[in-house]
Protein backbone atom coordinates (compact mmCIF):
# COMPACT_ATOMS: atom_id res chain seq x y z
CA UNK A 1 0.00 0.00 0.00
CA UNK A 2 1.40 3.39 -1.02
CA UNK A 3 1.07 6.29 1.37
CA UNK A 4 2.20 9.82 2.03
CA UNK A 5 3.68 10.40 5.44
CA UNK A 6 4.29 13.67 7.25
CA UNK A 7 6.29 14.02 10.43
CA UNK A 8 6.10 17.35 12.28
CA UNK A 9 8.38 17.81 15.29
CA UNK A 10 8.40 20.70 17.74
CA UNK A 11 10.16 21.45 21.01
CA UNK A 12 8.11 20.92 24.17
CA UNK A 13 9.73 23.98 25.74
CA UNK A 14 10.03 27.51 24.36
CA UNK A 15 12.05 27.49 21.15
CA UNK A 16 14.66 30.22 21.55
CA UNK A 17 15.33 30.30 17.80
CA UNK A 18 11.69 31.23 17.29
CA UNK A 19 11.86 33.84 20.05
CA UNK A 20 14.92 35.45 18.46
CA UNK A 21 13.35 35.34 15.00
CA UNK A 22 10.14 36.87 16.36
CA UNK A 23 11.98 39.76 18.05
CA UNK A 24 14.12 40.34 14.96
CA UNK A 25 11.14 40.35 12.60
CA UNK A 26 8.86 42.51 14.72
CA UNK A 27 11.28 44.87 16.49
CA UNK A 28 14.25 45.19 14.15
CA UNK A 29 12.55 44.71 10.80
CA UNK A 30 9.09 46.13 11.62
CA UNK A 31 6.97 43.41 10.05
CA UNK A 32 3.98 44.69 12.00
CA UNK A 33 1.51 42.40 10.25
CA UNK A 34 3.14 39.30 11.73
CA UNK A 35 0.93 38.00 14.55
CA UNK A 36 2.44 34.64 15.39
CA UNK A 37 5.45 32.44 14.65
CA UNK A 38 6.16 28.75 15.22
CA UNK A 39 8.84 26.42 13.86
CA UNK A 40 8.73 22.69 13.15
CA UNK A 41 11.27 20.21 11.85
CA UNK A 42 9.47 18.32 9.10
CA UNK A 43 9.89 15.22 7.02
CA UNK A 44 7.57 14.59 4.09
CA UNK A 45 7.90 11.20 2.47
CA UNK A 46 6.26 8.71 0.20
CA UNK A 47 6.36 5.20 1.53
CA UNK A 48 5.02 1.77 0.91
CA UNK A 49 4.05 -0.85 3.47
CA UNK A 50 1.64 -3.67 4.11
CA UNK A 51 -1.25 -1.63 5.47
CA UNK A 52 -1.90 1.90 6.64
CA UNK A 53 -1.99 1.08 10.35
CA UNK A 54 1.01 -1.24 10.14
CA UNK A 55 3.02 1.36 8.24
CA UNK A 56 2.05 3.99 10.80
CA UNK A 57 3.13 1.73 13.65
CA UNK A 58 6.43 0.88 12.03
CA UNK A 59 7.25 4.47 11.17
CA UNK A 60 6.19 5.53 14.63
CA UNK A 61 8.57 3.00 16.14
CA UNK A 62 11.48 4.28 14.04
CA UNK A 63 10.95 7.95 14.79
CA UNK A 64 10.54 7.38 18.50
CA UNK A 65 13.62 5.17 18.71
CA UNK A 66 15.90 7.24 16.48
CA UNK A 67 16.86 10.59 18.00
CA UNK A 68 17.60 11.93 14.52
CA UNK A 69 13.85 12.44 14.30
CA UNK A 70 12.57 12.87 17.83
CA UNK A 71 13.85 12.89 21.36
CA UNK A 72 10.96 11.95 23.63
CA UNK A 73 12.37 14.08 26.43
CA UNK A 74 12.21 17.32 24.50
CA UNK A 75 9.99 16.96 21.44
CA UNK A 76 6.30 16.74 20.62
CA UNK A 77 5.48 15.23 17.27
CA UNK A 78 2.73 14.48 14.85
CA UNK A 79 2.96 11.60 12.39
CA UNK A 80 0.27 11.60 9.75
CA UNK A 81 0.02 8.81 7.19
CA UNK A 82 -2.43 9.12 4.35
CA UNK A 83 -3.17 6.30 1.91
CA UNK A 84 -2.36 7.51 -1.57
CA UNK A 85 -4.40 5.17 -3.72
CA UNK A 86 -6.38 1.96 -3.57
CA UNK A 87 -5.07 -1.41 -4.71
CA UNK A 88 -5.98 -0.90 -8.34
CA UNK A 89 -4.38 2.50 -8.40
CA UNK A 90 -7.64 4.22 -9.16
CA UNK A 91 -8.85 7.15 -7.16
CA UNK A 92 -7.64 8.55 -3.87
CA UNK A 93 -8.22 6.95 -0.55
CA UNK A 94 -9.26 9.13 2.36
CA UNK A 95 -7.79 6.78 4.97
CA UNK A 96 -5.55 8.51 7.47
CA UNK A 97 -3.60 7.19 10.42
CA UNK A 98 -2.16 9.51 13.06
CA UNK A 99 0.37 9.05 15.81
CA UNK A 100 2.03 11.42 18.26
CA UNK A 101 1.16 14.03 20.86
CA UNK A 102 1.09 17.16 18.69
CA UNK A 103 -2.00 18.35 16.85
CA UNK A 104 -0.66 20.55 14.08
CA UNK A 105 -4.17 21.37 12.86
CA UNK A 106 -4.82 23.28 16.07
CA UNK A 107 -1.36 24.67 16.82
CA UNK A 108 -1.93 28.36 16.10
CA UNK A 109 -0.62 30.65 18.82
CA UNK A 110 -1.24 34.37 18.44
CA UNK A 111 1.34 36.69 19.97
CA UNK A 112 -0.56 39.86 19.17
CA UNK A 113 -4.15 40.49 18.19
CA UNK A 114 -5.22 41.45 14.69
CA UNK A 115 -6.15 45.11 14.29
CA UNK A 116 -8.60 45.05 11.40
CA UNK A 117 -7.54 42.52 8.77
CA UNK A 118 -8.11 38.80 8.57
CA UNK A 119 -5.67 36.28 9.99
CA UNK A 120 -3.99 33.61 7.90
CA UNK A 121 -1.54 30.90 8.90
CA UNK A 122 1.03 30.31 6.18
CA UNK A 123 3.26 27.25 6.43
CA UNK A 124 6.59 28.05 4.76
CA UNK A 125 8.69 24.99 4.02
CA UNK A 126 12.43 25.72 3.87
CA UNK A 127 14.83 23.14 2.43
CA UNK A 128 18.53 23.18 1.65
CA UNK A 129 19.79 22.89 -1.89
CA UNK A 130 22.65 20.47 -2.57
CA UNK A 131 22.10 18.61 0.66
CA UNK A 132 22.35 14.85 0.97
CA UNK A 133 20.41 14.86 4.23
CA UNK A 134 17.29 13.47 2.53
CA UNK A 135 19.21 10.36 1.53
CA UNK A 136 20.54 9.99 5.07
CA UNK A 137 17.04 10.17 6.54
CA UNK A 138 15.78 7.61 4.03
CA UNK A 139 18.60 5.28 5.03
CA UNK A 140 17.85 5.69 8.71
CA UNK A 141 14.25 4.58 8.22
CA UNK A 142 14.97 1.88 5.67
CA UNK A 143 17.81 0.53 7.78
CA UNK A 144 15.45 -0.41 10.60
CA UNK A 145 13.68 -3.78 10.66
CA UNK A 146 10.26 -3.64 9.05
CA UNK A 147 8.53 -3.62 5.73
CA UNK A 148 8.58 0.07 4.90
CA UNK A 149 10.19 1.27 1.72
CA UNK A 150 10.71 5.01 1.25
CA UNK A 151 10.49 6.26 -2.34
CA UNK A 152 10.72 10.00 -1.76
CA UNK A 153 11.94 12.13 1.11
CA UNK A 154 11.93 15.88 1.67
CA UNK A 155 13.22 17.22 4.94
CA UNK A 156 13.38 20.77 6.18
CA UNK A 157 11.92 23.37 8.47
CA UNK A 158 8.38 24.66 8.39
CA UNK A 159 7.88 28.15 9.73
CA UNK A 160 4.21 28.73 10.55
CA UNK A 161 3.60 32.45 10.14
CA UNK A 162 0.34 33.96 11.34
CA UNK A 163 -0.19 37.04 9.26
CA UNK A 164 -2.77 39.78 9.20
CA UNK A 165 -3.76 40.33 5.59
CA UNK A 166 -6.63 41.32 3.35
CA UNK A 167 -6.73 38.08 1.41
CA UNK A 168 -5.07 34.71 1.00
CA UNK A 169 -2.86 36.05 -1.82
CA UNK A 170 -1.89 39.05 0.27
CA UNK A 171 -0.97 36.76 3.17
CA UNK A 172 1.24 34.57 0.97
CA UNK A 173 2.96 37.62 -0.49
CA UNK A 174 3.66 38.91 3.01
CA UNK A 175 4.87 35.46 4.11
CA UNK A 176 7.40 35.51 1.30
CA UNK A 177 8.54 39.03 2.24
CA UNK A 178 9.12 37.90 5.82
CA UNK A 179 10.82 34.65 4.90
CA UNK A 180 13.16 35.30 1.98
CA UNK A 181 16.23 37.38 2.76
CA UNK A 182 16.66 39.49 -0.35
CA UNK A 183 18.22 42.49 1.35
CA UNK A 184 19.52 43.48 4.78
CA UNK A 185 16.23 45.11 5.68
CA UNK A 186 14.26 42.36 3.92
CA UNK A 187 13.28 38.92 5.17
CA UNK A 188 15.05 36.68 7.63
CA UNK A 189 14.14 33.02 7.58
CA UNK A 190 16.10 31.73 4.58
CA UNK A 191 18.90 32.73 2.25
CA UNK A 192 17.72 32.04 -1.31
CA UNK A 193 21.26 31.32 -2.52
CA UNK A 194 21.34 27.96 -0.77
CA UNK A 195 17.83 27.39 0.47
CA UNK A 196 14.50 26.77 -1.26
CA UNK A 197 11.17 28.04 -0.12
CA UNK A 198 7.61 26.89 -0.67
CA UNK A 199 4.32 27.84 0.94
CA UNK A 200 2.75 24.45 1.51
CA UNK A 201 -0.44 25.59 3.15
CA UNK A 202 -2.41 28.74 3.90
CA UNK A 203 -5.27 28.53 6.35
CA UNK A 204 -7.73 31.32 7.10
CA UNK A 205 -7.90 31.51 10.90
CA UNK A 206 -10.66 34.10 10.79
CA UNK A 207 -12.92 31.62 9.01
CA UNK A 208 -11.99 28.92 11.52
CA UNK A 209 -12.89 31.28 14.36
CA UNK A 210 -9.43 31.03 15.89
CA UNK A 211 -9.30 34.77 16.36
Amino acid sequence: MKARAELWVKLKVTDLVVETAWLTLTEKLDFDYLRGLTKYSCWFMKCEGNSLEETADQLNRVITLDSTFTNQNKHKYSLIIEGEENKTGEGKSSSIAKRGDLNIDEDFTLRSEASSGKLYACDCFVTELESDKNMNYTDRISGRPGDISISEMRAGLVWRLIIEADSRNDAEKKAEEISVTRSRRGGLLLNPHYQDFEIISTVSLSERGAN
Partner: protein
Protein backbone atom coordinates in the same frame (compact mmCIF):
# COMPACT_ATOMS: atom_id res chain seq x y z
CA UNK B 1 34.50 50.25 28.01
CA UNK B 2 36.09 53.33 26.44
CA UNK B 3 33.84 56.32 25.79
CA UNK B 4 35.79 57.30 22.69
CA UNK B 5 36.97 55.23 19.77
CA UNK B 6 38.81 58.05 18.07
CA UNK B 7 41.51 56.55 15.87
CA UNK B 8 40.98 53.09 17.25
CA UNK B 9 39.97 49.84 15.65
CA UNK B 10 36.56 48.80 17.01
CA UNK B 11 36.16 45.05 17.41
CA UNK B 12 32.41 44.50 17.56
CA UNK B 13 31.20 42.16 20.27
CA UNK B 14 27.80 40.79 19.32
CA UNK B 15 26.19 38.46 21.86
CA UNK B 16 27.69 35.04 21.27
CA UNK B 17 30.95 35.94 19.55
CA UNK B 18 34.04 34.53 21.23
CA UNK B 19 37.09 35.71 19.30
CA UNK B 20 37.03 39.37 20.25
CA UNK B 21 39.83 39.31 22.88
CA UNK B 22 42.27 37.47 20.62
CA UNK B 23 41.34 39.72 17.69
CA UNK B 24 42.08 42.79 19.80
CA UNK B 25 45.42 41.26 20.85
CA UNK B 26 46.36 40.50 17.25
CA UNK B 27 45.42 43.99 16.07
CA UNK B 28 47.47 45.52 18.88
CA UNK B 29 50.41 43.26 18.02
CA UNK B 30 50.26 44.67 14.50
CA UNK B 31 50.60 48.17 15.89
CA UNK B 32 46.96 49.23 15.93
CA UNK B 33 45.01 50.66 18.82
CA UNK B 34 42.07 48.31 19.23
CA UNK B 35 39.21 47.98 21.70
CA UNK B 36 36.13 45.82 22.07
CA UNK B 37 32.95 47.62 21.03
CA UNK B 38 29.79 46.14 22.53
CA UNK B 39 26.94 45.83 20.08
CA UNK B 40 24.59 47.86 22.27
CA UNK B 41 26.88 50.87 22.69
CA UNK B 42 25.92 54.05 20.92
CA UNK B 43 26.54 53.49 17.19
CA UNK B 44 27.65 57.14 16.95
CA UNK B 45 30.90 56.15 18.68
CA UNK B 46 31.84 54.26 15.54
CA UNK B 47 32.07 57.53 13.59
CA UNK B 48 35.54 58.20 14.99
CA UNK B 49 36.80 54.61 14.76
CA UNK B 50 39.66 54.10 12.35
CA UNK B 51 38.39 50.70 11.25
CA UNK B 52 35.91 48.06 12.33
CA UNK B 53 36.42 44.32 12.76
CA UNK B 54 33.63 41.78 13.19
CA UNK B 55 35.31 38.84 14.92
CA UNK B 56 34.52 35.14 14.84
CA UNK B 57 32.21 33.17 17.07
CA UNK B 58 28.49 32.53 17.11
CA UNK B 59 26.62 35.83 17.08
CA UNK B 60 23.17 35.30 18.56
CA UNK B 61 24.09 31.62 18.89
CA UNK B 62 23.77 31.28 15.07
CA UNK B 63 20.00 31.27 15.59
CA UNK B 64 17.99 31.08 12.36
CA UNK B 65 21.21 31.10 10.29
CA UNK B 66 24.83 32.05 10.98
CA UNK B 67 25.16 35.83 10.94
CA UNK B 68 21.53 36.43 9.93
CA UNK B 69 20.27 38.04 13.13
CA UNK B 70 23.35 40.20 13.76
CA UNK B 71 23.07 41.50 10.19
CA UNK B 72 19.75 43.13 11.15
CA UNK B 73 21.15 44.77 14.29
CA UNK B 74 20.89 48.51 14.83
CA UNK B 75 24.67 48.87 14.83
CA UNK B 76 24.72 47.52 11.28
CA UNK B 77 22.76 50.58 10.11
CA UNK B 78 25.69 52.73 11.17
CA UNK B 79 28.22 50.27 9.81
CA UNK B 80 26.44 50.27 6.46
CA UNK B 81 26.73 54.03 6.33
CA UNK B 82 30.42 54.05 7.32
CA UNK B 83 31.44 51.15 5.09
CA UNK B 84 29.66 52.81 2.19
CA UNK B 85 31.83 55.87 2.81
CA UNK B 86 35.03 53.82 2.72
CA UNK B 87 35.78 52.90 6.34
CA UNK B 88 37.83 49.68 6.47
CA UNK B 89 35.68 46.79 7.71
CA UNK B 90 36.92 43.24 8.21
CA UNK B 91 34.68 40.25 8.97
CA UNK B 92 36.39 37.11 10.21
CA UNK B 93 34.47 33.81 10.09
CA UNK B 94 31.18 34.65 11.83
CA UNK B 95 31.95 38.29 11.06
CA UNK B 96 32.18 37.31 7.40
CA UNK B 97 28.81 35.59 7.68
CA UNK B 98 27.35 38.80 9.12
CA UNK B 99 28.79 40.88 6.26
CA UNK B 100 27.39 38.50 3.64
CA UNK B 101 23.98 38.38 5.32
CA UNK B 102 24.02 42.18 5.49
CA UNK B 103 24.71 42.46 1.77
CA UNK B 104 28.01 44.36 2.25
CA UNK B 105 29.73 41.47 0.46
CA UNK B 106 30.00 41.21 -2.47
CA UNK B 107 28.55 44.74 -2.33
CA UNK B 108 27.76 44.93 -6.03
CA UNK B 109 24.28 46.09 -5.06
CA UNK B 110 24.68 47.52 -1.57
CA UNK B 111 22.69 45.65 1.09
CA UNK B 112 21.23 43.26 -1.48
CA UNK B 113 21.87 39.60 -0.66
CA UNK B 114 23.87 38.28 -3.61
CA UNK B 115 25.80 35.55 -1.79
CA UNK B 116 25.47 33.01 0.97
CA UNK B 117 27.90 31.31 3.29
CA UNK B 118 26.23 27.92 3.12
CA UNK B 119 26.91 24.71 5.07
CA UNK B 120 30.16 23.02 4.08
CA UNK B 121 30.08 20.38 1.36
CA UNK B 122 32.85 17.83 1.88
CA UNK B 123 33.45 14.31 0.70
CA UNK B 124 32.12 11.62 3.03
CA UNK B 125 31.41 14.01 5.85
CA UNK B 126 29.41 17.07 6.71
CA UNK B 127 29.31 19.85 9.23
CA UNK B 128 32.01 21.57 11.22
CA UNK B 129 35.58 21.42 9.98
CA UNK B 130 38.62 22.73 11.86
CA UNK B 131 42.10 22.57 10.39
CA UNK B 132 44.98 24.58 8.93
CA UNK B 133 44.60 25.36 5.23
CA UNK B 134 46.61 27.33 2.69
CA UNK B 135 45.49 30.66 1.27
CA UNK B 136 46.64 32.27 -1.94
CA UNK B 137 46.45 36.05 -2.04
CA UNK B 138 45.18 37.19 -5.44
CA UNK B 139 45.67 40.44 -7.30
CA UNK B 140 43.39 42.97 -5.68
CA UNK B 141 42.92 46.47 -4.33
CA UNK B 142 41.74 45.38 -0.89
CA UNK B 143 43.04 47.50 1.99
CA UNK B 144 43.28 44.45 4.25
CA UNK B 145 45.82 42.53 2.12
CA UNK B 146 48.35 45.22 1.27
CA UNK B 147 51.10 43.54 3.30
CA UNK B 148 50.93 40.42 1.13
CA UNK B 149 52.45 39.90 -2.29
CA UNK B 150 50.26 38.78 -5.16
CA UNK B 151 50.40 34.98 -5.25
CA UNK B 152 51.78 34.73 -1.73
CA UNK B 153 50.73 31.59 0.12
CA UNK B 154 49.79 31.90 3.76
CA UNK B 155 48.80 29.02 6.04
CA UNK B 156 45.84 29.85 8.24
CA UNK B 157 43.38 27.99 10.47
CA UNK B 158 39.71 27.62 9.64
CA UNK B 159 36.96 26.47 11.99
CA UNK B 160 33.44 26.60 10.67
CA UNK B 161 30.39 24.62 9.58
CA UNK B 162 28.99 27.24 7.20
CA UNK B 163 31.82 28.67 5.12
CA UNK B 164 30.91 27.84 1.55
CA UNK B 165 30.61 30.99 -0.54
CA UNK B 166 27.82 30.34 -3.01
CA UNK B 167 25.42 32.23 -5.24
CA UNK B 168 22.56 31.27 -7.53
CA UNK B 169 23.43 34.10 -9.88
CA UNK B 170 26.32 33.25 -12.22
CA UNK B 171 26.60 36.93 -13.17
CA UNK B 172 27.69 37.71 -9.61
CA UNK B 173 30.71 35.46 -10.05
CA UNK B 174 31.60 37.15 -13.32
CA UNK B 175 31.26 40.56 -11.73
CA UNK B 176 33.43 39.55 -8.79
CA UNK B 177 36.11 38.32 -11.17
CA UNK B 178 35.93 41.51 -13.18
CA UNK B 179 36.43 43.57 -10.02
CA UNK B 180 39.15 41.28 -8.57
CA UNK B 181 36.97 40.78 -5.51
CA UNK B 182 37.96 37.18 -4.75
CA UNK B 183 41.08 38.18 -2.89
CA UNK B 184 41.80 34.97 -0.97
CA UNK B 185 41.52 31.47 -2.37
CA UNK B 186 42.04 28.05 -0.85
CA UNK B 187 45.02 26.35 -2.48
CA UNK B 188 47.46 23.51 -2.01
CA UNK B 189 50.74 24.08 -0.18
CA UNK B 190 52.28 24.73 -3.60
CA UNK B 191 49.64 27.30 -4.49
CA UNK B 192 47.66 25.11 -6.87
CA UNK B 193 43.92 25.62 -7.00
CA UNK B 194 41.96 22.42 -6.56
CA UNK B 195 38.22 22.43 -6.02
CA UNK B 196 38.17 19.14 -4.14
CA UNK B 197 38.48 18.48 -0.44
CA UNK B 198 40.74 19.04 1.50
CA UNK B 199 42.39 21.81 -0.59
CA UNK B 200 39.01 23.43 -0.88
CA UNK B 201 37.79 22.54 2.60
CA UNK B 202 34.14 23.52 2.27
CA UNK B 203 33.17 23.45 -1.42
CA UNK B 204 33.31 27.23 -1.82
CA UNK B 205 32.81 28.58 -5.36
CA UNK B 206 36.06 29.57 -7.08
CA UNK B 207 37.90 28.27 -3.99
CA UNK B 208 36.94 31.58 -2.39
CA UNK B 209 38.13 32.03 1.18
CA UNK B 210 37.85 35.80 1.27
CA UNK B 211 35.83 38.25 -0.81
CA UNK B 212 35.99 42.03 -0.70
CA UNK B 213 33.63 44.68 -1.99
CA UNK B 214 34.46 46.41 -5.31
CA UNK B 215 35.99 49.40 -3.49
CA UNK B 216 38.27 47.11 -1.46
CA UNK B 217 37.53 48.51 2.00
CA UNK B 218 35.27 45.66 3.20
CA UNK B 219 36.64 42.11 3.41
CA UNK B 220 34.81 38.95 4.51
CA UNK B 221 37.17 36.05 5.18
CA UNK B 222 36.47 32.64 6.68
CA UNK B 223 40.02 31.81 7.93
CA UNK B 224 41.14 33.20 11.29
CA UNK B 225 44.19 35.50 10.93
CA UNK B 226 44.09 36.29 14.66
CA UNK B 227 44.86 32.62 15.31
CA UNK B 228 47.92 32.82 13.07
CA UNK B 229 49.39 36.11 14.22
CA UNK B 230 52.35 34.73 16.17
CA UNK B 231 54.85 32.10 15.13
CA UNK B 232 53.99 30.04 18.22
CA UNK B 233 50.48 29.50 16.78
CA UNK B 234 51.78 27.92 13.57
CA UNK B 235 51.94 24.09 13.55
CA UNK B 236 55.43 22.64 13.15
CA UNK B 237 54.33 20.37 10.32
CA UNK B 238 53.09 23.19 8.12
CA UNK B 239 54.58 23.39 4.61
CA UNK B 240 56.22 26.20 2.70
CA UNK B 241 58.30 29.09 3.98
CA UNK B 242 56.52 29.12 7.34
CA UNK B 243 57.79 25.63 8.11
CA UNK B 244 61.38 26.76 8.33
CA UNK B 245 60.44 29.82 10.36
CA UNK B 246 58.38 27.80 12.78
CA UNK B 247 60.97 25.07 13.19
CA UNK B 248 63.66 27.67 13.63
CA UNK B 249 61.82 29.02 16.62
CA UNK B 250 61.81 25.72 18.51
CA UNK B 251 63.44 26.05 21.93
CA UNK B 252 63.90 29.77 21.30
CA UNK B 253 61.08 31.42 23.24
CA UNK B 254 61.93 34.90 21.99
CA UNK B 255 61.44 33.76 18.36
CA UNK B 256 58.08 32.20 19.14
CA UNK B 257 56.64 35.70 19.56
CA UNK B 258 57.63 36.67 16.02
CA UNK B 259 55.03 37.60 13.44
CA UNK B 260 52.83 34.81 12.11
CA UNK B 261 51.25 34.50 8.68
CA UNK B 262 47.99 36.16 9.71
CA UNK B 263 49.32 39.35 11.24
CA UNK B 264 49.60 41.01 7.84
CA UNK B 265 45.83 41.44 7.58
CA UNK B 266 45.86 43.75 10.59
CA UNK B 267 49.12 45.46 9.64
CA UNK B 268 47.80 46.16 6.16
CA UNK B 269 45.47 48.92 7.26
CA UNK B 270 48.05 50.90 9.23
CA UNK B 271 49.05 52.81 6.14
CA UNK B 272 45.40 53.20 5.13
CA UNK B 273 44.19 54.70 8.39
CA UNK B 274 47.26 56.82 9.05
CA UNK B 275 47.20 58.30 5.58
Amino acid sequence: MPDSFSGKVAVIQFPGVNCEPETVRAARAAGLEAEIFRWNMSPRLLNEAAAVILPGGFSYQDRVRAGAVAAKDRIMDKLSDLAGKGKPVLGICNGAQVLVEAGFIPGLHWEKIDLALAPNVMSDREGYYCNWIYLRVEENNCVWTGEYQEGEIAPMPIAHAEGRFITRDENIIDDMHRNNQIVLRYCSEAGRLDSSFPVNPNGSIENAAGICNPEGNVLAMMPHPERASWLRQVPEDISGKWRAKRRGSCFRPEKMEDEGPGLGFFASIIKEISG
